[in-house]
């Protein structure tokens, strides 16, 4: 390959700066949107420049045109059509595509370097420079890394997508000896990697390596419960970044190297931040098989709890004549698309002089920030949304805590029950409120698959049904009150 000219280096530098600024701006609400556009601008620049200046690009125009058009159509339709509730799995699938692309690039480079897929000048050149006809480690290590991490990211993201979308059981899928199988797989990958670097550049072996990596991606994500998918997606996002950085090494391309490394590092810290919000370690998320653990609190006893129910009118009265109401939204609100009626309820209560606040748990919904986005969409003023630490002491003073489709984040077992799988996770102090009204579709356990003693609390009343319908009924009740 020709040495990249100074102009190309300049373009890469500009792009690198836009990517760094994009990440920086994305970390603050005021500048986030600008940041994203800036990143897109930098990307357009580097893609356009590569297209215009790479030798041989015009001869292969149709590949780039077909791939570009098909990819753009899928990307735009996917991104535009997806309902807000399905955002997380959309990010997962886009991430998987990136991982797949990185793996494909690594595989292509390997095939080219091992003699080309027909005859390649480059392959010949490499074997000429390195007579023992073993590719140097400085080529093989990043190639293997790009292939293995990209593949894991691809299949892992597809499984994460399937779990969130409901194609695959959201519950942790484990079987006896699953850890042994995973261990053997890892050992095999490692052995193959070493063999491919120092013993032989055999193509069949390499393809076997890639296939094993694809299987590994599935096996890594299958045992993880749906509630932990945000963390997994964030981790796989970081993985894809690393895979892209590795292909940057292989191709000697600084744009890939810098952007991939940036995402690999920022994805890692973001994953860590998410874990911290749940008071879990990343190892616990990956290997904990959350929700299958033993203990009396595991679902199955659900439905046997004695619970008190309430009708919408009584719930409305309780709130309309209270002084302070704290609304706790969760994934149930997102699924039912209940955010607009929730906003109506807020408006009505505020008009009656009732103070209304929203308590947002860091992992409410299926992604951090999920609830903020939904409520913002329904025009709930930003200042009414309180983060957990900000509002947890206010529950004591609240007349009513209205829980809309949130479960695990309100589970008091996390505070007291050392056998509970979510023991230690910070929760919203919903049970400190004078009254608790829980809107829920049924007594089914939450995403973590565990019972919630909150429902058996004498202060708690359950209102079963689709969140949108029940909130609308409450709105009607408040109007009549």
């Amino acid at each position: 390959m020709i040495d990249p000219g100074p102009l190309t280096i300049g373009v890469y530098l500009v792009a690198a700066v836009t990517f760094i600024l994009a990440l920086k701006f994305l970390a603050s609400p005021r500048t986030a949107r600008t940041g994203n556009l800036l990143g897109a601008g930098g990307m357009a620049l580097v893609v356009g420049w590569t297209f215009a200046t790479t030798e041989g690009m015009l001869d292969h125009l149709w590949i780039v045109a077909v791939g570009g058009v098909v990819g753009s159509v899928i990307g735009v339709i996917g991104a535009r059509r997806v309902p807000m509730t399905a955002m997380p799995q959309m990010v997962a699938i886009f991430n998987g595509a990136g991982g797949g692309a990185a793996a494909v690039v690594a595989v292509s480079e390997f095939l080219t370097a091992t003699g080309g897929m027909e005859s390649s000048l480059l392959g010949d050149l490499v074997t000429f420079i390195f007579p023992p006809d073993l590719l140097p480690a400085s080529f093989m290590i990043p190639t293997l890394l790009g292939a293995v991490i990209g593949s894991v990211s691809l299949t892992g993201s597809v499984v994460a997508f399937g779990k969130l979308q409901g194609f695959i059981a959201a519950r942790p899928v484990t079987y006896p000896g699953s850890r042994i199988v995973a261990g053997l797989l890892l050992a095999a990958l490692l052995a193959l990697a070493v063999a491919l670097t120092v013993v032989t550049n055999d193509r069949a072996l390499f393809l076997g390596f890639v296939l094993l990596a694809l299987v590994a991606g599935v096996l890594i994500v299958m045992p993880i419960g749906g509630a932990d998918m945000p963390v997994v997606i964030s981790l796989l996002n970081s993985y894809t970044g690393i895979a892209v950085a590795a292909t940057g090494f292989v191709l000697g391309n600084y744009a890939l190297l810098i952007a991939g490394t940036l995402v690999g590092a920022s994805g890692a810290i973001l994953t860590q931040l998410m874990c911290r919000a749940m008071n879990r370690s990343i190892l616990n998320v990956l290997f904990g098989a959350f929700g299958t653990g033993g203990g009396a609190t595991v679902a199955g006893a659900a439905g046997e709890q004695a619970v008190r129910t309430i009708n919408a009118e009584d719930a409305a009265t309780l709130m309309a004549y209270g002084k302070s109401v704290i609304i706790v939204p969760g994934y149930g609100m997102a699924v039912a698309q209940a955010q607009a009626p929730v906003r109506d309820l807020m408006d009505l209560l505020l008009a009656r002089g009732v103070d209304v606040q929203f308590a947002i748990h860091p992992v409410a919904g299926r992604m951090p920030g999920h609830m903020n986005v939904l409520l913002a969409e329904a025009n709930v003023p930003y200042e009414r949304l309180k983060e957990m630490d900000e509002i947890n002491d206010d529950f004591v003073k609240a007349d009513v805590a209205l829980v809309i489709g949130a479960n695990d984040v309100t589970n008091p077992a996390a505070r007291t029950d050392t056998t509970s799988p979510i023991y230690g996770m910070p929760i919203l102090n919903v049970d400190h409120a004078q009254n608790v009204i829980v809107l829920k579709r049924s007594m089914a356990a939450g995403f973590a698959g565990i019972d919630n003693p909150l429902y058996a609390d004498p202060k708690t009343a359950m209102l079963f049904g689709d969140a949108k319908d029940t909130v609308q009924a409450i709105v009607a009740g408040v109007k009549a009150a």
Binding site: A15, G39, A255
Partner: protein, 103 residues
Amino acid sequence: MTETLDPRALVDALFILVLAAFVGYEVVSKVPTMLHTPLMSGANAIHGVIVVGAMLVAAASDAPVAIGLALIGVTLGTINVVGGFVVTDRMLEMFRGRPDDKK
């Protein structure tokens, strides 16, 4: 395409790798929870730069297998980069048009 075989270039690349890792770590170490998802999504779009790698592979492809791989690579990379930026923008659209005086 085997530029990294040059030891000097390899050292350069390692320098860039280490420095970029620190920048990536520093730049997002303080993020309000509500922005975790958009940030992840934005970062996801940025690693869509892999499409550049796929284009380079495409430009050098000759045999049918190579062309097939290049086509898959460019398609997947484009899905990543285009979908990533569009979906992030859609998420962030929700924060627009409201007084963002707080935080």
